[in-house]
């Protein structure tokens, strides 16, 4: 190996040959910190910790440049889990186990699959839009969001495959826009608002349903779909819980604002407005679920009983998320939507 002295000679010789090498000195002296800055000065798309140049235009113009607006702890670990648990809808689902089903059951499966094929990509487009507005200094947030986009694409794909794999077809589209009071997931321009609505409420409800997939699956393929999707969805919900937990700890002045997002989310969860909660009352998908859970179109009474229990489970898990994030005071102080309390404790 070269000694320090003859290395210096090499460098000098290289400079004499016309090489610049000033960047080598800059690298040796780089003292860019490893702690994430509270405010990001990075508007040039540079990698966090790299050495800025003074002459680069500020073309990044990122909307989100403040850590406390988007941050959460433990995201690196969560991202690694995203990467590790990727799966293939083509080869990891035992499609060969699907057998012909009665028409009413197949129609209900296809209706539910149509719903998921439609709404799952909401959770793809919207986080995707946010990624490019966040400073690369907060790359941990960007990474989990882009991993979520990947997951949601696979969900769109796997449910479309289910609808077209067993003698059925796609069915009626879902109206996800009508009757939404307040802000919608699509229209959110602020990350905490988006995350409260998308991760905590919307995906939380879907997660409960995926976890109970055994109840509505009629073969191993469907069980595998719900099981895999539940794993994915739990990570998406985790993004929201970790973010709200951070906000509660580090940004308590925004608690009231966050509660207002939860107010809106609960209203939609209980009323079914916007069609995002497939198990909500009197929505198209809850009928399909009742058919699947009951075992046929003539057994929807039994299905509705199970569906009611599913709503209770959704509420319990939602309350658990609130507790984990530090927003469970609303459960006891009278702020939580009364309809949810009624579902939670029907007696």
């Amino acid at each position: 190996m070269a000694t320090v002295t003859n290395r210096a000679d090499y460098w000098e010789k290289a400079r004499e040959s016309g090489f610049d090498l000033s960047w080598l000195e800059q690298l040796k002296e780089n003292i860019q910190g490893e702690t994430t800055n509270e405010f990001s000065e990075n508007n040039t798309g540079r990698v966090e910790g790299s050495i800025p140049r003074g002459n680069v235009p500020q073309f990044g113009a990122y909307t989100f440049r403040t850590k406390k607006d988007i941050w959460a702890h433990n995201l690196t670990k969560l991202y690694q889990e995203f990467v590790t648990r990727q799966w293939s809808s083509a080869t990891d689902i035992p499609w060969e186990t699907i057998e012909p089903l009665p028409d009413d059951i197949e129609a209900a499966e296809c209706q539910l699959a149509t719903f998921f094929a439609q709404v799952e990509f909401v959770a793809s487009d919207v986080p995707g839009r946010f990624i490019s507005t966040m400073s690369p200094d907060y790359h941990e947030v960007r990474l989990v969001l882009l991993a979520q986009v990947m997951d949601e694409s696979r969900h769109l794909d796997v449910f479309r495959k289910r609808a077209l794999a067993n003698g059925g077809g796609l069915m009626r589209m879902i109206d996800t826009v009508s009757d939404v009071v307040g802000g919608s997931t699509d229209n959110a321009r602020e990350f905490t608002e988006l995350s409260s609505r998308l991760h905590i409420t919307g995906e939380g409800n879907v997660l409960t349903l995926f976890r109970l997939g055994e109840l509505m699956a009629y073969n191993e393929a469907e069980k595998a779909i719900y099981r895999r999707c539940a794993q994915d969805e739990a990570r998406h919900v985790a993004i929201g819980v970790l973010h709200l937990r951070y906000m509660n700890e580090c940004n308590p002045e925004r608690r009231e604002e966050i509660h207002s997002y939860l107010d809106e989310g609960e209203s939609r969860q209980s009323s079914g407005a916007g069609g995002e909660n497939p198990a909500a009352r009197n929505v198209l998908t809850s009928e399909a679920l009742a058919v699947l859970l009951g075992g046929g179109k003539d057994k929807t009474d039994e299905g509705q009983k199970i569906l009611m229990a599913i709503r209770q489970r959704q509420t319990k898990e939602y309350f658990q998320r609130l507790k984990s994030a530090g927003f469970d005071d609303r459960i006891t102080n009278g702020r939580v939507n009364p309809a949810l309390l009624e579902v939670y404790n029907p007696n």
Partner: protein
């Protein structure tokens, strides 16, 4: 399922629900009428030797890709429409010609089949230099050069993330094959960013200088259309990125770097396959006037690229990486010049293949000089 830092570690999946209290049946007068709401029934897509792929389910009406979609909801292609559904968004890419490539559907599945994990599939322990490691660490200047090289590649990946992120949600749902493929590219770009950053920071290292930014700026500020952006992202930037990966692999100093570049090369080749197919399709469909417009568009961009290529940082770092020392840097630079020449040659070849009349004669003079560079090369 293990998401230890979440409150979701008690899923109880498959349990019977706790409550069995009854609820009155839905009272909607249209109860169960949806059971007949389908445009095509009886579809039974069969898995092939690669499982049940997205191409396998493109059967009947579900495989009909419209030339234009004015649907502003997220209606899945082929789903039963509901009258009077309000718009969800104002999608701006509503024509097949603006984003389509026939191979996107297969590339989506390939991306998933060829997924890899930087923290597991790269033998990081072969980098050397860690405590108790018997492997020799790289000479300081080679290590610094590698960090600079990887900083540049991490930034290229991060910009790719931004570019796709800002276009994906503008794409109409009728073209879900493209949207899902681009989601895989987004995921790949995150992995590349993370892996190259990890390499740069290995053994307690620090990152290098940021990119000069001329082409990054072009990529992020491109607003004329996805096709125009794709021209920048794939033909202009992607051609260089792929070459850098190739040279990175050819001159790697240890199995970790070799594996890293090899994996990234596979991914980037897939991205290029979509980009090239889309550009060719768009130009074939839109005709020579559009192709001429793209050629003229590249005039200013090429001047920016020529300015960026004069910046010595990446090239000198690569020269040291290739040569394995500053002492032999001149030999490394000879190989860098070959890379630069190949970059311009491949740029012209790709432009010609997609249907743009870009030749050495109308290439920016600042770039044309690289075409004359020819050095004896072991690569």
């Amino acid at each position: 399922m293990s998401t230890p830092e979440t409150p979701e570690e008690n899923p109880s999946a498959g349990q019977e629900p706790e409550s069995t209290e009854t609820e009155s049946q839905d009272s909607s007068p249209e109860r169960l009428t949806w059971m007949h709401d389908t445009l095509e029934w009886g579809v039974k897509a069969r898995p092939g030797k690669h499982g049940l792929t997205m191409r396998d389910i493109n059967v009947g009406i579900y495989g009909d890709v419209p030339e234009e979609s004015r649907d502003m909801s997220r209606k899945p292609r082929g789903a039963f429409p509901v009258p009077g559904v309000p718009r969800t968004d104002l999608y701006t890419l509503n024509h097949k010609v603006e984003l389509w490539a026939d191979n996107a559907v297969d590339l989506y599945e390939e991306a998933i089949q060829r997924r890899w994990m930087a923290h597991i599939d790269i033998p990081w322990e072969t980098l050397g230099g860690s405590i108790g490691d018997t492997l020799e660490p790289l000479p300081e200047e080679v290590e610094l050069a590698t960090r600079q090289f990887c900083t540049e590649l991490a930034q290229q990946a991060s910009i790719e993330t931004d570019v796709i992120g800002q276009w994906l949600h503008h794409m109409n749902y009728a073209y879900h094959e493209v949207k899902t493929f681009l989601a895989t590219e987004l995921f790949d770009s995150g992995r590349h960013y993370s892996a190259f950053r990890q390499r740069a920071l290995a053994n307690g290292g620090r990152l290098g200088l940021e990119s000069p930014g001329h082409i990054n700026r072009r990529l992020l500020e491109s607003r004329a259309g996805w096709t125009e952006t794709a021209l920048y992202l794939y033909v202009l930037r992607g051609t260089l990125t792929l070459l850098l990966y190739r040279y990175g692999e050819a001159y790697s100093h240890n199995p970790a770097e070799k594996q890293l570049f090899r994996r990234c090369m596979q991914d980037k080749a897939r991205h290029m396959a979509y980009g090239m197919a889309h550009l060719k399709y768009a130009i074939d469909e839109k005709g020579p006037d559009y192709a001429l417009g793209l050629r003229r568009l590249m005039g200013g961009v090429e001047r920016d690229l020529a300015a960026e290529m004069k910046d010595p940082v990446l090239w000198e770092a690569l020269a040291i990486y290739i040569a394995g020392s500053v002492d032999h840097m001149a030999e490394g630079m000879a190989e860098v010049k070959n890379l630069q020449r190949r970059y311009m040659e491949e740029y012209l070849t790709r432009m010609k293949w997609i249907g743009v009349d870009k030749t050495a004669d109308n290439l920016d003079q600042g770039l044309a000089v690289y075409l004359g560079q020819r050095e004896s090369s072991p690569a």
